[in-house]
């Protein structure tokens, strides 16, 4: 995907010079290997900072919330779905946005790459078409990208953006025959005790840093429930009950809104597979309401709709 970079810079320069947008939001190459950073550019002379490759794992939609200026930004499949969610939830207006669509072939799991390299420190990762090369002190190895995709990218069904003003390249073929909920089905088969054990083990290393919340574009509440002290909804300690309450409540706040972009998992400093909490709710939203978050800009999400003919008796 590194070949998209010149085109992104060209579009950004055009937009800023013409004054179509006030700011362009994209990624720049990070100082640490495999860690690209979000960048907000207002000066056309700085567009050469922009970069795109298979390490753009953070969700840029975080930077849209509540903005009043005109914004250009790059968006792949999941990011564009988050933009749609933001528009539906009145956090931004479509007219403010110029969306540069990226046909995405998946983001590389940096932890999987580090695992493959053992204790050897990675200094640089360069990307070719379908492969990438890891360079360190005295070693250089090439891997196939498809073997190192993030778990959410490996089962992604929306690689192309659902909403855009201009594409940087032709759409890529969508994946077929993948089951995005295979791991959830595995958890569903467990007994109640096994599930408790599974989730307790899952969050045992959580340090309550809230990186998952901060990276999530859905978590834009002015005051998060975990930061409230009057009333205090949830304990702030690393007691398993407090930690589990935080993770479950956060997941429920994302029900029917999560696009499985994987930002939460990527930023977790202790490597908790946070998506295990949100994916079950994605599955429920899909199976019970036929709803995929951020795919339909013209429909209200199932959890904020009232229908007189609702099939559930309790709603009447």
């Amino acid at each position: 995907m590194v070949e998209y970079t010149p085109k992104i810079r060209e579009i950004a320069r055009k937009l800023l010079e013409k004054g179509t947008v006030d700011v362009f939001i994209g990624y720049k190459k990070g100082t640490v290997a495999m860690m690209n950073e979000p960048v907000l550019i207002k000066d056309p002379a700085e567009v050469d900072l922009l970069h795109w490759d298979s390490h753009c794992g953070l969700n840029l939609c975080n930077y849209l919330t509540g903005r009043t200026d005109r914004i250009g930004l790059v968006a792949n499949g999941c990011n564009s779905r988050n933009i749609v969610t933001h528009i539906i939830e009145n956090q931004i207006k479509r007219e403010q946005l110029y969306i540069v669509g990226i046909p995405c072939t998946g983001i590389i799991d940096h932890r999987a790459v580090k695992r493959a390299m053992g204790n050897r420190e990675i200094r640089e990762v360069t990307e070719e078409a379908e492969s990438f090369t890891v360079i360190g002190n005295g070693f250089q190895e090439t891997f196939q990208k498809k073997d190192f995709l993030r778990t959410n990218c490996a089962v992604c069904l929306h690689r192309n953006p659902v909403e855009y003003d201009e594409m940087v390249a032709d759409p890529v073929p969508e994946q077929e025959g993948v089951n995005p909920f295979k791991d959830v089905e595995g958890v569903e088969r467990k007994s109640a005790d096994e599930k408790r054990q599974f989730f307790t083990q899952l969050i045992s290393s959580c340090i309550r840093c809230y990186a998952c919340r901060n990276a999530c574009p859905l978590c834009y509440c002015p005051t998060c429930f975990v930061d409230e002290s009057r009333p205090q909804w949830v304990g702030k300690s690393i007691d398993p009950v407090d930690t589990m309450t935080f993770h479950f409540l956060r997941a429920y706040h994302c029900a029917g809104r999560c696009t499985d972009c994987g930002a939460c998992e990527r930023v977790c400093p202790v490597g908790i597979p946070v998506r295990q909490f949100t994916k079950k709710l994605n599955k429920d939203a899909f199976e019970l309401f036929g709803w995929e978050a951020g795919v339909r800009p013209d429909q209200r999400p199932p959890l904020d709709v009232y229908r007189a003919d609702d099939y559930n008796g309790f709603i009447k």
């Binding site: 640490v32 932890r111 695992r115 204790n119 290393s205 300690s237 007691d239 202790v270």
Partner: protein, 297 residues
């Protein structure tokens, strides 16, 4: 100063031997990362890391800990009395701490152990802890220890420093605490660690001593000797090296007392239903206290 050269297997065995005298915290590989864990049955120390995911800060200063306890059971004599939770301040050792993390404890000390304020729990835990550093042979490209007063082989804040030589570790003691640990870690001579009260803590405790010249003059005259011994005790004229520092419990008694004074204050209900402290009345707690789990823990 004591230096030891041990193969990695000998070192692992020596750490097991230390368990009789210390709670030993070592780096353990868990999934993708290394973290400091208490060495006990099953925990395998692993020194094959660049940096641990988290520093061992929590060994001295836990992220959350139980401070006070009380009982709501009216049949008990001490119902509603808030008491300080008993704590374990027995000797412990952090083996394999990076020099940067060790220096960080000295930065925390600025707030927790200064002339105005000594946090009793932090100070007692710190005094009971021996830090065995692990020099960085291959620091990360993103490390910045040399910019903040530390370094890959820095000895600041450490009681001993170990260096990986490939097939073996060389361990050098830097303080009496470190020396005591190394002596007790010798695989052939397993012995309990000496009382920590006899060990010099880091930084070196201040000793009251008279100006050398003045001391020399008065010690030469019998009159001077009798007079000063009567007034100040024999220890005043002894060489400073023979004056032993007081045991930890005695040195920190003032700080502990201040904590207990707080515990003796009355707890009354506030407008928000949360207990507040009033220094004017005897201690009682409201019959129901919101957030029982947190109140007791």
């Amino acid at each position: 100063m004591l230096e030891k050269s041990l193969t990695k297997e000998e070192w692992t065995e020596a750490l097991k031997g230390l368990q009789s005298a210390y709670k030993v915290f070592v780096p353990v590989k868990e999934g993708d990362f290394h973290n400091f864990r208490l060495l006990k049955n099953g925990a395998k120390p692993s020194f094959d890391f660049q940096n641990t995911r988290l520093s061992p800060k929590a060994v001295i200063f836990p992220q959350s800990e139980r401070m006070f306890e009380y009982s709501l059971d009216e049949s008990k004599e001490d119902a509603h009395i808030i008491k300080e939770t008993p704590k374990d301040f027995s000797a412990q050792a952090i083996v394999g701490i990076r020099p940067c993390d060790a220096l960080a404890f000295q930065l925390v000390r600025i707030n927790f152990d200064n002339p105005q304020y000594q946090d009793p729990w932090w100070v007692q835990r710190m005094d009971a802890t021996t830090l065995i550093g692990f020099a960085c042979n291959d620091p990360c490209a993103s490390c910045f220890c040399t910019s903040v007063g530390s370094g890959p082989f820095s000895e600041k804040g450490l009681d001993a420093l170990m260096v990986d030589l490939g097939d073996r570790f060389v361990v050098k003691s830097l303080t009496t605490k470190g020396e005591a640990l190394l002596k007790s870690s010798h695989p052939e001579r397993m012995q309990a660690a000496p009382s920590l009260s006899r060990c010099r803590i880091w930084p070196k405790p201040r000793r009251r001593r008279s100006p050398p010249r003045f001391r020399r003059i008065i010690s030469r005259t019998r009159w001077g000797m009798s007079c000063f011994t009567l007034l100040f005790g024999r220890g005043f004229l002894l060489p400073a090296s023979t004056v032993e520092p007081a045991p930890i419990s005695a040195r920190r008694v003032g700080a502990s007392t201040s904590r207990m004074k707080f515990a003796k204050r009355k707890v009354t209900g506030s407008a928000t239903g949360m207990p507040v402290c009033s220094p004017f009345s005897p201690i009682t707690a409201p019959a129901t206290i919101p957030g029982t789990k947190n109140s007791s823990g």
